[in-house]
Symmetry: C2
Subunit: 465 residues, 2 copies
């Protein structure tokens, strides 16, 4: 057994800040001088340095100074084979897929290319502080295999699965429901719950899925109920209309997945920009999750996700946040928080009644405000809850896996250090509130440059140059 | 006379890409191997290396390799005394001003603080590749003096002016129209056209200006017709309503400035999110300019600037782009292009008819697409045209001031180099189109990390670590 200690300033969460409006501190935990003891990659003890050190006097301690240590970030929605085409110019969702995405993803039939892609993908995630993702692969099994293999070599927890599509894509890109079923079965047997790998049955999106493909997914979920289900939902208005043309017997986008028994715990629908209140209600009731991908929603112009509506206590929906690389133009969950904050604020100018008094809703507007508590919860413990892996990771509870990030609050653009000095006068944070304010500046003034070190299972896998 | 040569790959503009829909290359200029000869800070010759070198064989040449050299960026709207509060949490425009901005700006009455602020401000600009800005200062003359002094020491071209406000701000922050007139007169005499400094008569915004203050501005403009006029316009719906309450005899926001004779050449109105078609038409006719500040418009949730409408050839409005730090959360004009692209794309989902067929306007949608040509033109030559300084700078025409930036196309997030290698296979750009594609990736995948060197008047003032 290898036991190590990490000493430093720690910030993590014990509850959902949206449940503590006006008192979000109640959801967080802060140790200015803390110690985490990690045995074989798993957290054994965590708390104030003095107290924990006394009980673990023999452990060798690494002291990470001048940093704020937070749980590893969780990216709930990302596409491995779009690593290289992130930020492609000029199109909304459907033409963008045809022009940029499918041609690049086709290259992942080649094992060497897929292997290089998987390496670069995980390198980019670790450099951004992301230690866990739920990933789409491509319609060829090779890329799924290579992602799981590479993640296993790094001991990273990854949720992924063969990405099925049998409609509305080039002929050499699509595959049959039969092949999808067969290949998925094999991949589940080979990878699911092996090491830290977890398998998601992954129909790409309803617009690219025949009823037969969705039936294959339903059968897979029935035969492997502990597997995840990962897909897209209600991203773009033209896509939403297209889905109802493809599935004319369904009343809305969610209805398609409901029809095939996929909506429930461990179900993730990426985007959800155009989900109706009624769909939010049904997702809430069944424990399904939506993945908010603001960089992508802005980059593709899809629209403004109704964050304050998804978090309405009347029909609270589980949620993770995602980059959606390559629809999202940045690998960093810190950039996701930047754009998420902006989406929330733009929503609020529509909700304050200044444009249309009938739309005024100040409670929803309050929920749209992405405070640093809400933001960092969403990409750590909240993301883990959205993905149903909060029993394994997401905060520093003993028993959980020791994935974490050491943030340099001054690491971003030239102006950042002076800004931070307004809060803590050149020193590190002394209180939870100071830490939260500095984390807000990491979100909005900083970026992935603030990620100084990324640790996976108690082992440092990334250090900034 | 000091004469130096700069050799490298150059990209600049000779015309407005929005005038060349479908053939934007016609607006640009590309030399894969170019040479710029600079005499005493001014461009003496520019063109292909072979040709220019032959005619200037004695000049000492600095070869900037593996970079794309573009004109220095122009920030048309930024607030010096908000350098430290950029990215402040949680409010729309009017409460944000009261809570964060006025208290910080008050500190700039102290000369030492103002001097430190001016240094940090210009350091942050240069690190972002910005060589010229049009800046708001504060309501105390000290900050205007310190900005001009510091800019002069660096020989940077800056437009700035005492920022007048006599309403709707804390009592110790506002000043009288009489003092504003007197102090502005003195500052104009002291700084306007001294070295590279240019003076802008600067009423902060109509919501903070009494008719008497605007009358003082009118008198200043009448007495100093070659001075600039810089202000805010139509940023936020609540502000727009507030302005019409303060100025009940005006039909719209622009009408307030028109009433006092301020609208015409050298007039800049920051934001313009809620400008009507009729206001665009009047601005177009008089040669007034709008400054598009997307980071700020998203950060404060102000709304989506109608880029495709401002560029309608029927009433084309002059335009520069701005960070609006601290309403904008980034000093980098590259980040401004990132958010500008996103604003354009979000506009387009409203214009493609998929939500409301009656709003379909594909020509406007086309103009909303911020191609790399449009983007980099807007922060160089286009910005200079918007500010009426294109006779002095903005591209590499001989006779203009030699302000430029050497961009590292691979300088951004970890994933960027592999992305760029899709375009030019690991090498630099060989054609104008390859250069433009790489610049698009600088906008959307990169950030200020791509700024490797910043030169002002032929002298290198910034080099990335």
């Amino acid at each position: 057994m290898t036991t190590v200690g990490i000493r430093g300033t720690f910030f993590d969460f014990v509850d959902d800040p949206w449940k503590h409006v006006g008192n979000e501190q109640a959801a967080a935990r802060f140790h200015q001088d803390g110690l985490m003891v990690v045995a074989d990659g798993v957290i054994e003890a965590f708390g104030p340095y003095e107290k924990i050190a006394a009980a673990h006097s023999s452990v060798e301690v690494t002291h990470i100074k001048d940093r704020i240590i937070v749980p590893g970030f969780i990216d709930g929605h990302i596409h491995l084979p779009q690593t290289r085409v992130l930020g492609a110019y000029g199109e909304q969702l459907l033409p963008w897929l045809q022009k940029w995405v499918y041609p690049e993803e086709l290259k992942y039939r080649d094992r060497n290319y897929a292997r290089e892609g998987a390496k670069r993908f995980l390198d980019a995630l670790l450099a951004s502080g992301t230690t866990t993702c739920q990933a789409f692969t491509s319609s060829s099994p090779v890329s799924t295999e290579e992602l799981f293999e590479e993640a296993a070599r790094r001991n990273m927890r990854v949720i992924a699965g063969l990405t099925g599509i049998d409609r509305n894509a080039p002929a050499d890109f699509i595959d049959t429901p039969e092949n999808f079923y067969r290949d998925s079965k094999r991949l589940i047997a080979q990878y699911h719950n092996k090491g830290r790998n977890l398998y998601a049955i992954t129909p790409r999106f309803a617009f690219g899925a025949s009823p037969e493909l969705l039936k294959a997914c339903q059968r897979l979920k029935h035969e492997h109920p502990d597997c995840w289900v990962n897909t897209h939902i209600s991203e773009n208005p033209a896509e939403c209309s297209g889905v109802l043309v493809e599935h004319p017997d369904c009343q809305d986008y969610l209805g398609v997945y409901e029809k095939f028994g996929l909506v429930g715990p461990k179900f993730s629908g990426g985007h959800g920009v155009y989900l109706s209140n009624n769909e939010f209600r049904r997702m809430s009731k069944t424990g399904a999750a939506v993945v908010f991908c603001p960089c992508s929603n802005l980059f593709l112009g899809s629209g403004l996700f109704r964050l304050g509506r998804a978090t309405d206590p009347e029909h609270r929906v589980r949620m993770s946040f995602g980059t959606d690389v390559g629809g999202g133009n940045r690998f960093s969950m810190i950039s996701v928080l930047d754009d998420a904050y902006k989406v929330g604020m733009c929503n609020n100018t529509l909700l304050d009644g200044s444009i249309d008094p009938a739309r005024k809703d100040l409670a929803e507007a309050e929920r749209n405000k992405l405070s640093p508590y809400r933001g960092f919860w969403s990409i750590t413990l909240g993301g883990a809850e959205g993905l149903y892996i909060d029993d394994k990771l997401g905060n520093f509870e003993p028993g959980k896996e020791a994935d974490f990030v050491a943030l340099d609050p001054n690491g971003g653009q030239a102006a950042q250090a002076w800004h931070q000095s307004l809060i803590a006068d050149g020193a590190g944070p002394r209180t939870m509130d100071e830490a939260a304010s500095m984390l807000f500046a990491v979100m909005m003034v900083g970026d992935d440059r603030c990620v100084d070190e990324t640790w996976v299972m108690g082992k440092r896998l990334y250090k900034k140059n």
